[in-house]
Symmetry: C2
């Protein structure tokens, strides 16, 4: 049976408007469009202004495009850290951000908690940390952080830049942009688009840090250094020939999201998360991997299925629902469910009904 719903947390299901936008792109010659043309500049502006409106990003922040969130991990360390960053690690992806900083030769540090846990309370950051890397939503385990937790770092560490990985949570979370310096995501998750584009939102403090490193003779990369990004973005352009089609589709889906309203998107996300956690927690064969309610992600929901994993997955496949496997060592004992705007309430209700019939 052809899947009716892809619940893997990325690349995930396309938002329902994407195929029509792609057809229109071809009709309008977008794939052949010159990236130094006025037409491209209008698309760039539409995507970046749209994102600023959708996510309530205030003045003083800029929107830059990379190839992937993986690239942004590397560029963030390259542009923002001379010697030391600090990372909150609770899964494979937050760990990779830390590892990339070490691979780039930084003497970075981390605090690590077991898989399935989030972070709570006050975290002491060592002195001389230049960047604090925080993964809002750990895609591998479904553990998320609260806004109150994230907001503690800025005032307590005025010399550090607070950089938030929101790869698999945006557009759901409503960040307080006075408490963070950068946030990034990739479009194949919450924005329901084909993979191949990362989006990096940075404030002027980040740009100033990169300029300062450069002025002191330290390397910050070439075409994707923050100053060069900004120099091009001021003209609504990119440093290199970008994924023009990806930026066009992002602009179009952001328009769709704005038309629907971010408040509605967020309420629907919460409704769908509530019915799925309820179904998992009351199920005889399943349990939520993340036990602490405050750490349960709304956008990537992970069920411990133990020896019943294949049985549950097969029952879902039979109704056309494709869940994601557990990540890494948990591949055979868990299932992961993305809860993105592309996943309709009706699909979630079918998912929950189907789970309830398994016993």
């Amino acid at each position: 049976m052809k899947p009716i719903a892809h619940f893997a947390p990325g690349p995930s299901q396309l938002y329902f408007t994407v195929e029509d936008h792609m057809r229109e792109a071809f009709r309008n010659g977008i794939p052949s469009m010159a990236h130094r043309s006025k037409e491209f500049e209008a698309i760039f502006r539409s995507a970046t202004d749209g994102l600023k409106a959708l996510l309530s990003i205030p003045p003083g922040f800029h929107v830059f495009f990379a190839a992937s969130a993986t690239e942004i991990w590397e560029r963030a360390v390259q542009n923002l850290v001379l010697e030391k960053s600090f990372h909150l690690v609770n899964g494979a992806f937050s760990k990779r951000f830390y590892e990339i900083s070490r691979q780039l030769g930084k003497s970075s540090e981390k605090i690590e908690v077991p898989l399935g846990q989030g972070f709570h309370g006050k975290i002491e950051i060592p002195p001389a940390v230049e960047m604090i890397g925080i993964t809002h939503n750990e895609t591998s385990t479904g553990a998320a952080l609260t806004m109150d937790f994230i907001n503690q770092f800025s005032a307590a560490n005025p010399n550090a830049l607070v950089v938030v990985d929101a790869v698999s949570s945006l557009p759901y979370p409503s960040f307080d942009y006075s408490k963070i310096d950068a946030v990034f995501f990739s479009v194949q998750k919450g924005f329901g688009l084909p993979a191949g584009l990362g989006v990096w939102v940075v404030n002027d403090r980040c740009v100033a840090k990169a300029e300062n490193l450069l002025a002191k003779g330290h390397g910050i990369g070439t075409y994707h250094s923050l100053p060069f990004y900004l120099q091009n973005a001021r003209k609504n352009q990119t440093p290199e020939t970008p994924n023009v089609l990806g930026i066009y589709l992002l602009a179009k889906v952001v328009e769709d999201f704005l038309r629907k309203g971010v408040h509605t998107l967020r309420k629907e996300t919460e409704y769908k998360a509530a019915i799925l956690y309820q179904a998992i927690e009351t199920h005889p064969l399943l349990s939520a991997f993340v036990k602490d309610k405050n750490s349960q992600s709304k956008t990537v929901i992970v069920a411990d299925c133990g020896e019943h994993t294949v049985q549950v997955a097969n029952a879902l496949h039979r109704v056309g629902i494709h869940p994601g496997d557990g990540y890494g060592e948990l591949k055979k004992s868990q299932l992961r469910f993305a809860n993105f705007p592309a996943h309709s309430k009706e699909q979630y209700e079918l998912l929950v009904d189907t789970l309830e019939k398994i016993n």
Copy 2:
């Protein structure tokens, strides 16, 4: 009038099969495909094996995917150069490769000739050069290098890696892979695809150089280091979530090119180039920017139009042909014509007929 033909040298006209391949991609769920799945591995293998067949790439070479050729300039220097590269500069793009090496802190050197010229004869490379950066086809001016010229470097400089930028010439040139160590291109030019993917072909000597730098404690980047590329490519995977759709479309267009035959593609390229150079050189208002026949690119043909540039461009627009502007300071006095597989003989004949009527 909607353009019937985009002759700008990239992003350029789509190959005529691309829109159908895109529709099929959506029908088959490619945009939601997991990049760690068996299905993606088959696409990766199809794209890389197809390219090896199309371009007669021998064993000992690997095909890796980047976001752009701009990225590959940076990755090449990062992975292959500790102290010094040497660059042949004859235009904006060959110069950018050199500049990126300087920005990365290398004490790189260059030989530079005026715009519109190629290189000839024996080039002495300074000792201790680790990488020789050669731009086969300078997109900004339409100057190309001969194979004999490119093939001189390998034997004369056995300790240097010969890295060829063929961004706007492949699949036309037939390289002797025993004489070069790496070649790269981006898909929005000769392959007629939407922008957002660079392709980097490297041999084992390049991988060994990167491994050697790493073993000595030098940074070679993180997710796009050559050893990590290779570790993933051995599984037919990519280090990060890639532009899956872009790789799929590349695989499909390479299949189309193989079906047509690279010999036919090359013969058609030569026919189209011959009739356009003939039209330009016999035209009362036009002349070829590249005077030396041996340096005239077959794939990016540049006409000096002087004060007649607007008149010529307007006449072409009236029949639906969109030429590319001259590059940089030559924007207002030249027109550039891409001659890629996407540009049909009929379109070239219309272009030539239209030029001949202008006087």
